[in-house]
């Protein structure tokens, strides 16, 4: 089994002849917490959509768990279902909390849905809200439901797109703790998009800086924050970069 869950080679993404992403070479290791940092519009969320196979690359190859995909390749459903994303804004279905959390399991026709749903809700500390309408929740509760809906699927890779950007410190801490625990105990690979340098520093094993669609530098956490190679990384870490 390969040490890498993703290997990207010469990947680009173009919308209406405007190139928004260029990744010459990027590898994401199995079981690591990989943070993508950078200002808004740097291509972080686009890269995440490619990693979740929500979009195809315009050029290049993405190898996921020893299966390679290109611009024209269709990703088999069974592989696509080993990855999921928690987005910045929790988009919940207009149903109960438990129906939301069980949604992905039902798509997969899995058994023991109720049991798995209550375990996931307990994990995010919302077991008392199972029957409540999802649309009546606070922002923090809604994001925790979105997280429960993702972790209940027990994915190989959990993609997190600014999952705590709009939350209070209590919920930020809670969500960080839950995903770290998943990573430690189940070996779930985490790819975290954030523009919060401190969050990347707290969570990530390795960090990549993205600027204007390019991956500027990839390094382990300590090197990235203490001795970066690229002056743009140093400026970003210092907070000097204006964006």
């Amino acid at each position: 089994m390969s040490d890498f869950v993703y290997r990207l080679q010469n990947v680009s993404k173009t919308y209406d002849e405007r190139r928004v992403l260029t990744v010459d070479h990027l590898r994401i290791r199995r079981g690591e917490v990989f943070a993508l940092v950078g200002p808004s519009g740097a291509g972080k969320s686009t890269l995440l959509r490619l990693l979740n196979f929500l979009e195809s690359p315009s050029t290049g190859r993405i190898r996921f768990l020893d299966v390679e995909f290109t611009a024209r390749g269709q990703v088999p459903l069974r592989l696509r279902r080993r990855v999921t994303t928690v987005f910045q804004r929790p988009i919940l279905l207009n149903r109960s909390v438990q129906a939301n959390v069980g949604y992905g399991l039902k798509l997969r026709s899995e058994e023991a849905v109720a049991e798995k749903v209550s375990q996931a809700l307990a994990e995010v500390g919302l077991e008392g809200l199972a029957r409540q309408r999802a649309r009546t929740l606070s922002g923090g509760e809604a994001q925790r439901v979105a997280l429960a809906r993702a972790i209940v699927l027990d994915p190989d890779v959990l993609l997190l797109d600014e999952p705590t950007a709009n939350l209070d410190p209590y919920n930020v801490g809670l969500i960080e703790e839950i995903v770290q625990q998943r990573n430690r105990e189940r070996g779930t690979t985490l790819v975290l998009v954030t523009h919060n340098v401190f969050q990347a520093k707290r969570l990530a094993d390795r960090v990549a800086l993205m600027l204007e669609g390019d991956v500027v530098e990839v390094a382990d956490g300590e090197t990235f924050f203490e001795e970066p190679d690229d002056p743009r990384t140093a400026a970003f870490v210092r907070g000097d970069m204006v964006y």
Partner: protein, 248 residues
């Protein structure tokens, strides 16, 4: 002046007699009336079923996808939503008449003129643009980010469409109510393609026209009351379904 008052009184008498007659016909389960009611419900029910089967997928497809020719289809759909039923009746009449392109064919799927099947075709053409148009609007009202979210959770294209339709369920139910409303009370098309033949193609609306022409105002009124009651009951059922989702 005096005659006006008399006339006014006699019309009120007709209405009162009509309502009384309606109750009598309903309570006694008048066989002729029950046949007309049954045929109306069957024809409009089947037409609504076809409209739903065609209209909801069409509305969802137009609401969720961008493709060449989409604007043209939407323009045609909007035109269809405002089509005068009598023009639809004329079109179906010409198509199904013996010299028409479909009338010359002998395929069992193509109904003959002056049969319930012909009326189902006409009513389907009247109501499916409404079902499709309102469904499209409902689907377009759903948060576009929801699509990406359900895909990220592992939904297939079909499961994604279904999730969006379920989110838009209030609008989809409204589309079905609108489709039903447009055909249960429609008279022009069924009159043209059905012919109002007693025991075969006589509907509630065409029976009202006939009885009014014959001067049987009380019977016409009675059927009118029944038609209103059916329409009201059907809408009430739909609203109850809708209410469950509205109150959620």
């Amino acid at each position: 002046m005096h005659s006006c008052t008399k006339k006014g009184r006699s019309i009120i008498d007709e209405i009162v007699r009509g309502i009384a007659e309606a109750f009598r016909l309903i309570v006694t389960l008048d066989p002729a009336l029950m046949e007309v009611v049954s045929l109306s419900l069957r024809v409009s029910g089947i037409a609504l079923l076809f409209s739903t089967v065609i209209g909801i997928p069409l509305g969802a497809m137009l609401g969720l996808n961008r493709f060449r020719g989409r604007r043209l289809i939407i323009a045609l759909l909007y035109t269809g939503m405002g089509f005068p039923p009598v023009v639809v009746g004329l079109f179906v009449y010409l198509m199904l008449s013996r010299s028409g392109p479909l009338g010359q064919m002998t395929a069992p799927i193509i109904p003959d003129l002056f049969t319930p099947g012909a009326m189902v075709v006409a009513q389907t053409i009247i109501s499916f643009p409404l079902v499709a148009g309102f469904t499209m609007a409902a689907v377009m009202g759903v948060d576009p980010a929801l699509r990406q979210q359900v895909q990220a959770l592992g939904a297939t294209p079909w499961q994604t469409t279904l999730a969006i339709l379920v989110e838009a369920r209030i609008g989809v139910i409204v589309s079905i109510i609108a489709g039903f409303g447009s055909i249960i009370s429609e008279v022009g098309a069924v009159m043209m393609v059905g012919g109002n033949i007693e025991g075969s193609t006589r509907m509630l609306t065409t029976a009202i026209v006939l009885e009014t022409r014959k001067g049987n105002f009380d019977l016409a009124m009675a059927i009118g009351v029944i038609l209103l009651a059916i329409s009201f009951a059907a809408n009430l059922i739909m609203q109850r379904l809708q209410g469950r989702t509205v109150d959620e």
